[in-house]
Symmetry: C2
Subunit: 687 residues, 2 copies
């Protein structure tokens, strides 16, 4: 554990606690760990606790399987030892779910005991990480009493890694998993990655890109040894592995000339392949499928529907406790830009809503947060919560494809909080997205979160050092969507930079403001997409305007935006439950930040803030650049308080962000000025 | 020769002449070929004549070294046999230059003799190809008397091929030269390619991309065996090989850490390398250099100027009769789009004009036809003709980077004719570009043409079958720039599709119209650049508008175009000699087709044709699509007259062209309509 790694330790730095008083007070407590090693399936649980205490406190604890006559930590599953159960009351035991844990300080006679307990090995592991995080953050041990349960069943990470080492939409180097169509020879970093994920409660991982290419298609059969090794690494940290599959695998295998889900030979082919996977990996999670989307194969090619396509696989997986995750990112990517009636935003709802109840129990639909594609700001997908008889999980994007590509600081937790706290009104007021995806709204069998991860083999894992916070925050939110953005952020800052009031104040503000700052100079009023096709970076106001991708702002000399109302537009608003439909349908109630997503308006339209639409664009873009400068100044104030390497790295990114923000600002303002001839009322320089 | 090739024979099909009368009349004449095989350096000359006669006439001629007592063809260099010289008068002998030839029917006693003669082996080879072409085109033998001399010394082809088999800006498959960093194992196609080039008079070839990457840098040393093999193949057809070099080769070799042309070690390094090249390839042509351009290394990195950079290499090459070709495609490719004072169009003249007379005798500047980069229409580069003490060659682009990428039919001979017939006024009226580059204007030592070729390993060599005509026509024009576009085109049609009046009429019109048709729906009034960066395909009106490449139209709500006048603009017009400067400077005299290249105008500006500027854009774009439809209809009329394979291939390209033309039309018209709000007066559909 003390060898120097060739990569950052992120939020598991366990920086030494230098306050001797604390160490001395609890020295005895941290010296003995009572556990039954044999009963621990996840060996990491004990070693992580031991190493963590060593690094935090400089104490090398002993493991013992009997209660010593001294202070001690007791690390045991419920029901394992009688004397543990004595320390927990009935209510505490009952309140834990399968993966929950309890951490509790008990005074027994004159002896302090810290109980870390759970109903499962995973729970125990999460408890240990939580306890170490508590110590790292200088949490008090007085009256220590934490009971936590993860709110959702699936807390997934999706990797868009390819076997050649490339990562689709990766901005932090190459894959930490693969190189040259093989697993990395040295898997130590993968193990440390599993630990990072487990420490924030991630319990599922998809090992390969949803766009499954030739080599990756073989991860289910010819290359199963790679999958098996990965399963072995992640299993140690309580993480089940899943694979993205190519729906046309039976064809690519060379064995069949169809992938029709109703063809008996196809079914037999999958039965054989799946049986073999589970023979090799008994706890294999299942499949993630991007079917009939963006040129990927799927059941529609054979005249079958999405339910038929998914259920064929799900039925086979049932026998193995496997899950079939079906992505709802399906739309017409060959749209004619001249066609103003087709609306990509409507696609997922139109396609999937009719199949509510048609999917087998072990099928879960993975739905992107918005109806388009991870833009800086989108309304929530109307499909979320709208299928009471179908399991749904929410797909978020940690990798910053459209949010600055880890060049720009863009902390996404505030965005995600808005999304999961959004009230769908599916079952009346209070039907938030988080309730829809944690299963509590419709009591669906499966539930949870998935997110496309932002890691690569850069030293700092995430390209921009501060983008680590997005990965940390995702895990914490998936565990407990009720955590506030501020809570999560403070945790991450403390774990990553050490507890320090000044650092916390500066970074909290930088992070919490950053999404809105990024939005301000890139994508005004819900427009999105002003980027270059392919790279998805910008600015490129007309980048997608004459493309087949269904993403248009339709700006002309006098007006801009897409009318998506039921009254006069594409009717997208009609996919929402009434309260939301009414809100978006009418300009006065439609929030400014979505006004051009739902309405087509003249540049002279008066926004709720009193400025005209175009003046707002000018203002926010100029101000956005200034705000980036402010962020840089703030960061500069920490010089000397942060180690030079991290300080200079982040400063360099902020410099680049400022330069690019100016480019966004000037291009977008110039575009609209040239198009409209309407001058900035403040007379700032537009080209 | 009769084996079936895996590729088209282009204009060397030698389709059998079926008219028995002709065959019978001249049977005796074609039966005997008098030549001295030993004295023929280029063996291909004799075999080509023999095979050609066999295929055209079904006659297998005999070679003999003595004059038979019957009709005969006499194929001999001047001075080789006394009786040949008797057939040529003094004037004929004197009129031939080194690479010229004479073809002449002589009645000697009762015997017909066809004399094919020249001062050199190359001349003889060109004479044979010309004679076979004459027969293929059903030319009469009565009074046959052709004397031809190539007007320029260098008639070059530039290949932008890379050793991995890719071709920069190639639209006809992969390289016919290289694959996987090796020469193709089977070089038969390269031999046939050499034959195609020689048949139109090409005498020089650059074997690799001007953007010289890592592997290609080694063609001068570690990979010299590839260069040597290629030289051997092309030598047989009178073609000298050249290499594009990496100016930083001494550094890449690992031997030096500088490429400073004034550094003695650098000079020694090049001396050693060049000596070795000429040891292996005594007739090696020399180097082509793209220096200090688009991120390529060059002398400027070391504080040296272009003359110092070129002369260092040229001096070493002098001893070997080698040539140093220095490209003038140099400009600031990191321009800030906000900067309206810097003008890329001015760069080449500004940079090179001051060095007139500073280059050694064996240096030649290779100058692109226009000041920008092979756009559909550009004014002629003001550098052409403007350096009386410096050798210049004209660089054209056969590969259709900006002219439809061999998807669109765009026959370039009419464009090139306009360019070479353009009067620079460098030495008063009549100082045409062709005189500047054939050396007659300023009596410069070197002269000629270079062009980036359009061939790849597609069956038809050029992607679009009809694009073969551009390669053919380039060779013919470089040989004789006075040929009319119609003459060249009729030759090509006849050689490629057989002599047929209907085919000739249809294809002549299709080809001759195609450039203006392509221009009409893509790039109005000299604008250019409405394409996507990277792919260089379109339409993408703002594609380069906010880029660093120096290529802007600066369209706003009321005006468009770049003011390049001396009076109020960038001053580019001032680089022209007075007559041209005056013509471009003033709107009334500036031709419509260049009006937006030289002037910034309101959309309501009245063009010389009476319509407003914007209405002209609308009109030409709509009409352009209709013209493509007309071309398709014309082509359709040939169904049944052309073999099905070629007919359907060309039809498929025309279908694609129509589809893309509609896209160009709709996007460009919609862009301007949305930007200006000015409606089409004819009320056609704009989106």
């Amino acid at each position: 554990m003390n060898t120097v790694k060739s990569y950052d330790l992120c939020w598991l730095k366990y920086q030494p606690i230098k306050d001797k008083k604390i160490i001395d007070k609890y020295r005895a407590l941290f010296t003995n760990i009572v556990l039954n090693e044999k009963s621990l399936d996840l060996k990491a649980t004990a070693t992580e606790l031991k190493d963590g205490l060593d690094r935090l406190l400089g104490i090398k604890p002993y493991f013992t399987d009997t209660l010593p006559d001294s202070d001690a930590i007791i690390l045991c599953k419920i029901g394992q030892f009688a004397y543990i159960d004595d320390f927990l009351d009935h209510h505490e035991r009952e309140s834990l779910n399968t993966e929950g844990f309890i951490i509790k300080l008990v005074l027994a006679g004159e002896r302090n005991r810290i109980i870390i307990s759970a109903k499962s090995d995973k729970g125990l592991l999460y408890g240990v990480f939580r306890f170490l995080s508590h110590l790292s953050l200088r949490g008090s041990l007085e009256n220590l009493h934490i009971i936590e349960n993860p709110r959702s069943e699936l807390r997934m990470i999706n990797h868009w890694d390819n076997l050649d080492g490339s990562i689709e939409r990766g901005y932090a180097g190459k894959s930490i998993f693969y190189r040259n169509n093989e697993l990395m020879r040295d898997t130590e970093r993968i193990t440390d990655y599993a630990k990072l994920l487990a420490s924030v409660g991630i319990n599922s991982i998809v090992l390969n890109n949803v766009n499954v290419h030739t080599n990756e298609t073989e991860l289910i059969d010819k290359k199963i040894s790679i999958t098996k090794k990965m399963a072995g690494i992640f299993r140690e940290y309580g993480i089940r592995v899943f694979l993205s599959i190519n729906y046309a695998s039976p064809i690519q295998s060379g064995e069949l000339n169809t992938a029709d889900p109703c063809d008996l030979n196809v079914i037999r082919w999958w039965e054989k392949v799946i049986a073999h996977i589970y023979k090799e990996i008994p706890d294999f999670g299942g499949f993630l499928v991007k079917a009939d989307s963006e040129h990927r194969p799927g059941p529609l090619s054979y005249g079958r529907d999405h339910a038929q396509g998914a259920n064929m696989l799900a039925k086979i997986l049932t026998a193995y406790n496997g899950i079939l995750i079906w992505r709802c990112f399906v739309y017409n990517c060959r749209q004619d830009w001249r066609d103003a009636t087709t609306d990509r935003a409507k696609a997922a709802y139109d396609i999937y809503k009719p199949f509510d109840g048609a999917f087998l129990d072990n099928v879960v639909l993975q739905i992107k947060n918005g109806p388009m594609d991870f833009q800086v700001r989108e309304p929530v997908s109307p499909l979320l919560g709208a299928m009471p008889h179908t399991s749904q999980i929410l797909e978020l994007q940690i990798t910053q494809e459209y949010t600055g590509q880890q060049i720009h600081l863009c902390y996404l937790i505030p965005q995600w909080k808005e999304i999961i706290d959004f009230d769908t009104y599916a079952k009346g007021k209070g039907s938030t997205v988080k309730k829809a995806v944690d299963g509590s709204l419709h009591r669906t069998k499966l539930n949870g979160f998935a997110a496309v991860v932002n890691v690569g083999d850069d030293f700092n894992w995430t390209g921009h050092y501060l983008a680590q916070a997005n990965l940390y925050g995702y895990g914490r939110l998936a565990w407990n969507p009720d955590l506030s953005a501020e809570e999560i952020t403070k945790e991450w800052i403390g774990l990553t930079f050490g507890k320090d009031v000044e650092i916390e104040n500066v970074l909290l503000k930088m992070l919490m403001d950053s999404w809105l700052v990024y939005e301000s100079y890139t994508s005004p009023l819900g427009l999105g997409w002003m980027i270059t096709p392919g790279s998805h970076y910008g600015p490129n106001v007309d980048g997608y305007e004459y493309s087949p991708w269904g993403t248009y702002h339709r700006a002309d000399h006098t007006m801009i935006g897409v009318d998506r109302t039921t009254l006069s537009g594409t009717g997208f608003t009609g996919q929402y439950f009434k309260d939301n439909k009414d809100m978006y349908e009418c300009k006065p109630s439609c929030p400014d930040e979505f006004i051009l997503f739902f309405h087509r308006l003249p540049y002279t339209y008066s926004l709720k803030n009193g400025t005209t639409l175009l003046q707002h664009i000018y203002d926010t873009h100029f101000e956005g650049v200034n705000k980036v400068k402010d962020i840089k100044t703030k960061w500069g104030s920490l010089r000397g308080k942060i180690d030079e390497q991290r300080f200079e790295h982040i400063l360099a990114r902020l410099n680049l962000q400022e330069e690019h923000a100016k480019e966004w600002c000037d291009v977008i303002n110039s575009y609209f000025y040239r198009k409209t001839g309407i001058a900035d009322i403040h007379g700032r320089k537009i080209y």
